[in-house]
């Protein structure tokens, strides 16, 4: 398996390409833009884009989808309706499917947006805007923030330390690093401890 990242100037988002080295088939995750550089990169290596995974349907993660689908006949996977395509597969929490010879697992983590999902391929977690290096994704309400933290604690922080976090914005990280240094999650852990302590006092 080969993984490349592309820094999209549109929305300062990360676009990922995961390729199966044996079949030369590849997946694009969050096509924020589909620039000539990215196209040249794919063509130079003879990759055939067979699937597109969308972590959530915000424009700065999917703007390149229209161009991409004009060039490659790729299957699109997301948990909500996706602009620029009417032919896509809706995925749900806990789903698993295989594309390009790679097993993809779906973890629904709403909070940043209701349709946010994390794609897990082997030990790689494509977290979109739910979790970044050291920070949580932005939310519009206290409820959204609480929901995001709960879902992350339950589904993502239970993953092994050496799982790699590949976010929609910012640098990569690992679950071990996020467990130790993520400001939002540490706050959550402290609150849980405080609640336990308060219960103990009662």
């Amino acid at each position: 398996m080969t993984v490349f990242f592309h820094y999209s100037l549109y929305g300062f988002s990360n676009v990922y390409l995961v390729a199966n080295d044996h079949t030369k088939e590849a997946i694009i995750i969050d096509p924020a833009e589909f620039s000539i550089n990215l196209l040249n990169f794919i063509e130079k290596r003879d990759y055939d884009i067979k699937a597109v995974l969308v972590t959530h349907n915000h424009l700065h993660h999917i703007k390149g989808l229209r161009t991409l689908l004009k060039i490659y006949s790729a299957m699109v996977f997301g948990s909500n309706s996706i602009p620029f395509t009417s032919n896509h597969t809706i995925v749900h929490d806990g789903d698993q499917f295989t594309t390009c010879g790679l097993k993809v697992q779906i973890l629904s983590v709403p909070g940043h947006s209701p349709d946010s999902v994390i794609f897990k391929i082997e030990k790689l977690l494509f977290t979109g805007d739910t979790l970044q290096a050291g920070l949580l994704g932005k939310t519009n309400s206290k409820y959204g923030n609480s929901l995001l933290k709960d879902q992350l604690m339950k589904k993502i922080m239970s993953q092994p330390d050496d799982c790699i976090v590949l976010p929609g914005h910012g640098p990569p990280s690992s679950i071990g690093a996020e467990r130790s240094f993520n400001i939002g999650l540490l706050e959550k852990a402290m609150n849980v401890e405080q609640e336990r302590y308060n219960l103990f006092l009662q």
Binding site: M1, T2, V3, F4, F5, Y7, F12, E122, K123, L124, Q132, A133, G134, L135, K138, P160, D162, I164, H169, G170, P171, P172, S173, S174, G176, A177, S180, F181, I183
Partner: protein
């Protein structure tokens, strides 16, 4: 990307080292295996998908190399010269790095999270889009480097220089600093508080 194949020892979930079925803890002849890997690596200019997680390395000369998708997570890296090298999507999480030379490197999309880094220089480097969250630095020098979009969240910086650095969109949230020199760097464009941060 380096292989995520697990060590073949029962109940060990650590990834196996490159060229082996075992992780560094369960490899019986680790020293010789690492030595053989070094012989291979030093003859190559481009090093791809190597997994050296947790290994102790000392005195390796890895100047002017290109590293893609490699893992050195949890390794003890002493007296290593990485000058003028290129790194893409490489992982140094929770490493111990002592007396290393990262002069004029070009590192993008790499993670040094939780690393303890001492007596190490990154002078004149492109350190764009990297993760230094939770690092402990002592006597380190990042001067004349671009740290665009790099994060130092919850890091502890001591006797560390950031002289004449590009700190645009660099996150220094919740850090502790002792004798840190920010001279001539654009600290106004870095984020020291979450309020107003654009991420």
């Amino acid at each position: 990307m380096y292989s995520f194949t697990s060590c073949t020892v029962n109940d060990c979930n650590t990834t196996a080292l490159s060229g082996s079925d075992f992780c560094v803890l369960h490899l019986s002849d680790a020293a010789n295996h690492i030595k053989a890997l070094y012989e291979t690596i030093r003859q190559q200019k481009t090093i791809k998908n190597i997994n050296l997680a947790g290994v102790p390395l000392d005195g390796w000369i890895l100047k002017q190399r290109q590293f893609f998708g490699c893992s050195f997570a949890g390794a003890q890296l002493n007296n290593i010269d990485w000058s003028d090298s290129v790194f893409r999507m490489c992982f140094f999480d929770f490493c111990t790095i002592k007396n290393a030379q990262f002069c004029r490197i070009d590192a993008q999309f790499c993670s040094f999270a939780g690393a303890a880094i001492s007596d190490t220089t990154f002078i004149g480097s492109e350190l764009v889009h990297n993760n230094f969250n939770g690092v402990h630095t002592v006597r380190c020098n990042f001067s004349n480097s671009s740290l665009y979009n790099t994060r130092f969240i919850k890091s502890q910086l001591a006797e560390t220089d950031f002289i004449d650095c590009d700190l645009k969109k660099t996150f220094f949230l919740d850090i502790s600093q002792t004798s840190v020199n920010w001279k001539f760097s654009n600290t106004q464009e870095a984020y020291f508080e979450l309020t107003g941060a654009d991420f």
